[in-house]
Symmetry: C2
Subunit: 369 residues, 2 copies
């Protein structure tokens, strides 16, 4: 295991920030400075060992930091990231943990985006607050990273290394793609479930007993309904562009099916249901266990010392569903070509990665490790 | 256990009809005559012991029957029920097992409705066909019964007794209420799940890996998508009135939430999510284990010998979420008042039942058993 770059600062110490501190402490991080608007939260975080030192301001927390995580509620992430970037050292990378990425990135200048790598760990817990923090919250979770074209490669590498130390699986993705994806697979599903509960509560004609007797589909559809209302209101607002677009399209799809039912169009309805069965199968195809032990391969990518080089490559690999197990940057001379070493699992992933990178017009060579 | 009224005929021997035969055979039914359009299905049903005799026509199957179950696909249930009623003995009760009840009842004359008690056991299996039949399919399942005002009390009692023998829990409900309930808790959820899968398959921007990483809500929402397309097409068409109405209302609810998101109306969105949390809690309140051992109480209801008397009482108890454990009819003299004995679990249910029945203007007295 590589040493964890540090010092690390965490701004906002709730379930997510506290768990991040515990995970990094557990992985050997030496200095974790915490800041939170609530003084008692900070004291609690210190007592729990989630941070090694508390700061009394954002500026004090990020002074001397190599890596800052903004773990504030999603509605405040953009404002706090902006505030952190204004006072962070020039070579410090700033990240966040919110479920909507465009809203943060859009609020930053190009210069700020060079030092900001948006993040989104896909996990959580029933309870919130630092008291609920646990060091294994991120273990095995996907942690999306959304480097922009302006992002500095060595800062991406650094936040990647820190996140990997939590046991999460970092996955690079374009911010807009991320937001559309999360709208579709998480934000809209929460709306659909809540709307169905409202309708059932308003109209369920014969009450609870009949409802409970009526098979598993209603329970399945409504399991996520109503979790943490203020958090979800903020998520829907933060990701409103993608959520509204997905909801509008979805209503259109329902209207189409409705018309098929009105028309008693059996063939169309069979095709609709069969298409869903196919789609579900395709979406659920298992690529094998995530932690299968396969031969690691190293792909050495020659990259020019310019912004955008890293996000192009990580995004291309993300689109090819190729998981980056590790990455290291070996900078070249100023203005020259450096090396970006990407480690993947197995020969098949390596060959797919080389193909994706070659399509960008970038030269690579490959070594089995 | 009371003896099972017989002989019984089953028309259509697939998963549902076959399982019904096995369950009744297991409970001691002596004569179960089966008919199916496929001769090899009949032979298989005989070999499996799901029926005791095969018939070569509907008329032959129902001749001499006390109780006939139409276990045909839901799209054919109305036509076959009509066909069965035309040839069944005048004192024979006919029932079915389809997921939509209005479509069958609406196709029958008042005379036919006197001898028809629609049914719908809420259960099923992944596989279809008699080979998948099992004697415990109905154990513990809710089996809705939808007696109309014309239904003859003694025929309702008979079908109730047969169904109870399978281990299912019969629950009387108004047919229209049933259809709206099933639209809401089962038929619409299947459409919602299928539509979400279609949208994900069409737009999921970064493929399976990202989709699989994105938490449990998508999996929960789409678990039921695409099961048995022809069956579901037929269910949606059979229950089209209630399904289209529920879908239309649902689209309206989504449009409202969409507008709240566009308006960044945080308070409205919090209220929407919090209302769903409340609704879910209320809908899921547990009334205690279904099989808890509580004192049985008998409510003796004086009912006039006229159509409608039974459906009024069973429907009133259904609306009060009072489960009828058993019922027996003691007919009075022609044109006089008979007794309808309803057994429920526990003093609380008994007192609630008496209140409901009193509200109908019907006299009762109550005995602990």
């Amino acid at each position: 295991m590589r040493p964890i770059p540090g010092p690390i600062a965490i701004v906002g110490i709730g379930l997510m920030g506290g768990s991040l501190g515990l995970a990094l402490r557990g992985a050997g991080a030496e200095q974790i400075v915490g800041y939170d608007i609530a003084a008692d939260t900070l004291a609690q975080a210190l007592a729990l060992g989630a941070i090694t030192r508390s700061a009394s301001s954002v500026a004090e927390a990020v002074a001397g930091a190599a890596c800052v995580f903004v773990a504030a509620p999603v509605g405040l992430a953009a404002a706090i990231a902006h505030q952190v970037l204004a006072v962070a050292p020039p070579d410090c990378v700033v990240s966040d943990l919110g479920s909507a990425k465009g809203v943060v990135i859009d609020a930053l200048s190009a210069d700020e985006r060079a030092r900001f790598i948006g993040g989104h760990p896909v996990c959580g817990g029933e309870r919130s607050g630092v008291a609920a923090a646990r060091g294994d919250l991120y273990r095995g979770a996907t942690w999306f990273l959304t480097p922009t074209a302006e992002a500095r490669p060595e800062l991406y590498e650094r936040v990647y290394a820190v996140i990997s130390a939590t046991g999460a699986r970092p996955a690079a993705i374009d911010a807009e793609v991320h937001d559309r994806l999360m709208a579709l697979v998480s934000h809209v599903p929460h709306v659909l479930a809540a709307a169905l509960i409202h309708q059932a509560a308003a109209t369920a004609p014969s009450g609870r007993e009949a409802l409970r007797s009526a098979g598993p589909s209603f329970d399945d559809l409504t399991r996520v309904a109503g979790a943490n209302p203020p958090l979800w209101a903020d998520i829907l607002i933060a990701n409103r562009g993608a959520v509204v677009e997905a909801l509008r399209e979805y209503r259109g799809r329902l209207a189409e099916v409705e018309q098929q039912i009105v028309n008693r169009d059996r063939q169309a309805l069979i095709a609709f249901m069969a298409g869903a069965a196919d789609g579900r199968r395709r979406l659920r195809v298992d690529d094998g266990p995530a932690d299968a032990i396969v031969e690691p391969w190293e792909i050495v990518v020659g990259i020019p010392d310019r912004p955008g080089a890293v996000s192009e490559i990580t995004t291309a690999l993300g689109h090819g569903h190729i998981n980056i197990v590790d990455l290291v940057l070996r900078p070249g001379p100023p203005g020259g070509v450096g090396e970006f070493v990407v480690r993947v699992s197995g020969a098949a992933a390596a060959s797919a990665a080389v193909e994706r990178i070659a399509a960008l017009g970038v030269r690579t060579h490959v070594n089995p490790v």
